[in-house]
Amino acid sequence: MRATRWVGAFVLSLLFAAPALAADAIKIGAVLSVTGPASFLGEPEKNTLLMLQDQLNAKGGINGQQVEVIVYDDESDVNKAVMAARKLLDQDNVSVVIGPSISGNTLAIAKFFAAAEVPLVSCAAAEKIVHPVNPWVFNTPQLDRHAVSRILLDAKAKGYAKLAILTVSDGYGQAGRAVLKELVPAQGFSLVADEVYGPKDTDMTAQLTKIKGAAPDAIICWGTNPGPAVVARNRAQLGLTTPLYMSHGVASNKFIELAGEAAEGLILPAGRLVAVEQLSADHPQKQALEAYVADYAKAFNAPISSFGGYAHDAFKLVIQAIAQGTSAKSADIRDNLEKIAAFPATTGVYTYTPEDHNGLNEEAFIMVTIEKGTWKVTQ
């Protein structure tokens, strides 16, 4: 019976582990990858949410109610995301949930939210999250499709015909690769090489050598740090002069720091966060962006990343939905999210409809070139 005693002790201690929560605050849950391989997304997202919570509560909350953000770390792991989501729904009884940071975890927990009738505003980009539309699931990042369209528009303008792609074999790279393989031929380009690299790989010279043999007019690399920095460095080392496009997954100063001189001349689609100061004063996003950049710098002694912006926008959209509807009930938040129109935030200007739970279009991207170690807006 010794084993049963143990099991019993565990279960009992589980029972008493439920944290006590403030009764009358609006509870906003968050499942974020604060640690693990996707921590570069989850950490700034968590910082942002807690910062916005304090800001809002200092101003007296929303409709006279304080908000309470409950962040659980899913460690970039599906099982932990499932347990975190269940805890938020069953035990913390939150009104709405922000996150997860990565697409796989979002897809894994999405069905719970439809069943529990609680809205989920994801910070992950995969198209499967919002197509087909799940009435209870929204997301804030730009879709990969929009980024690819911007790159191909630029490539067409420059007269390129043969393209090579080099993508990372994780969720982000796989989604990008699928869209690239669909749109590159559809827009009249020929795809001459399709190479991949592992998320932990440290040398992509072999792939680039193979691509070099296929003689493309330009290369499109799809990944998040540090892989693309290695690709940029290897390209320089091989003396390759073929133009290299990156994805919006590296649109942070960290990339320029890692790639060093090899970053010069690279072109990528990015959110406007990387070049706030180059934005015209009357741009609808100017105010939101400047406020976020200033606040984040003041609150955390850390460089800002556009990934934190996904959580920022999710939070602001949820608050906007509550403000519009005067109620913080889950069903009302959901209904009012769908009524949000032309709402400027850091990533873009959102218009949610019952058919569109992403709310953005190609306009959320600008094309930037890396020049002298900084971002230069080209389109």
Binding site: T35, F40, K200, T202, A206, T209, P226, A229, V230, L258
Partner: protein, 293 residues
């Protein structure tokens, strides 16, 4: 097939392979003294790279000084690991020791994440980043550094194990710790020494590799796995086997990516490793295992 392309694949394989080989060397030293595979070896490599980066950034030291300090620091950590985590349990069965080294690797990684954060960092190459062109293939000066230092380390170890009293004593410990202590060898001291040397070798590796591979708190995981594979491929306990195993693994991966498929390059390398193990269970250069009944 363009000969310069083939040459480029080989050079790439050599660069990759030397990173695995350097990690594998560290495994060999501890294995040779204790018979234990130290799964925290990858973390020593990480410590070398990350400490150099942080000494340069935090103390404003020039690169050479930071590198030397980092290697000394990692060596001390190696001694600390032995004292705190290995010595108290030296009489446990190997599986417990292996679990402990896995625990140590998780602990060091966790500490590194707390101290240095989750970001990736770059270290400047020692002799610039202008590639040397040989028959159309680009070779990075840093690759030459890695290969050169690996060779020096290898010959040093060879000399140490075959010509010095400490080296021979360490080897004796691995054959039979009890017998070794009977003939007057201070086994615990030898074990500590082996941890220090392998941490030193690992850290030197980490310092040399950081300019090529970039570095972050979690680079040790993959390097540890590949280093272990290189060890097994070359035959456990043989430093030359470990280095050669690393190079072979790297070249296999690079050729696999070039000629077969970049998606399956790691799988290909492991398939070949498995087939080899099944055909020659003691590795390419390993001595045949004999065991007491």
């Amino acid at each position: 097939m363009d000969p310069s392309t083939l040459l480029q694949y080989l050079v790439t394989g050599l660069t990759l392979g030397s990173t695995y080989g350097l990690t594998a060397l560290g495994f060999t030293i501890i294995f040779n003294t204790t018979g234990v595979i130290n799964f925290a070896q990858g973390e020593f490599v990480m410590l070398g790279g990350m400490m150099s980066v942080s000494f340069m950034a935090a103390l404003g030291l020039p690169e050479p000084a930071a590198v030397v300090l980092a290697v000394i620091g990692a060596t001390l950590i190696g001694a600390l690991v032995e004292r705190l985590a290995i010595r108290p349990v030296r009489h446990c069965p190997p599986i417990n020791l292996i679990i402990i080294t896995i625990g140590v690797s998780i602990l060091i990684r966790g500490l590194a994440m707390l101290v240095w954060g989750k970001d990736t960092h770059a270290l400047e190459p020692f002799s610039g980043s202008a590639p040397i062109l040989v028959l159309g293939a680009a070779i990075m000066p840093q690759t030459l550094w890695v290969l050169g230092v690996s060779l020096v380390l290898l010959s040093g170890l060879k000399l140490f194990f075959s010509a010095t009293i400490h080296g021979k004593a360490m080897l004796a410990c691995s054959y039979d710790a009890k017998a070794a202590s009977l003939v007057g060898i201070g086994v615990p001291r030898m074990v500590r020494l082996s941890f220090m040397i392998s941490a030193l070798v690992g850290a030197v590796g980490g310092v040399l590799l950081a300019p090529i591979t970039l570095t972050s708190f979690d680079v040790g995981v993959m390097l540890g796995l590949k280093g272990f594979a290189a060890c097994i491929l070359g035959g456990l306990g043989n430093p030359f086997g470990a280095a050669a195993g690393g190079i072979i693994l790297g070249v296999l991966e690079s050729l696999g990516a070039g000629f077969v498929s970049s998606a399956y390059k790691d799988a290909l390398a492991f398939v070949i490793l498995l087939v080899l193990l099944f055909v020659k269970p003691s590795g390419l250069f390993g001595r045949k295992d004999f065991k007491r009944v």
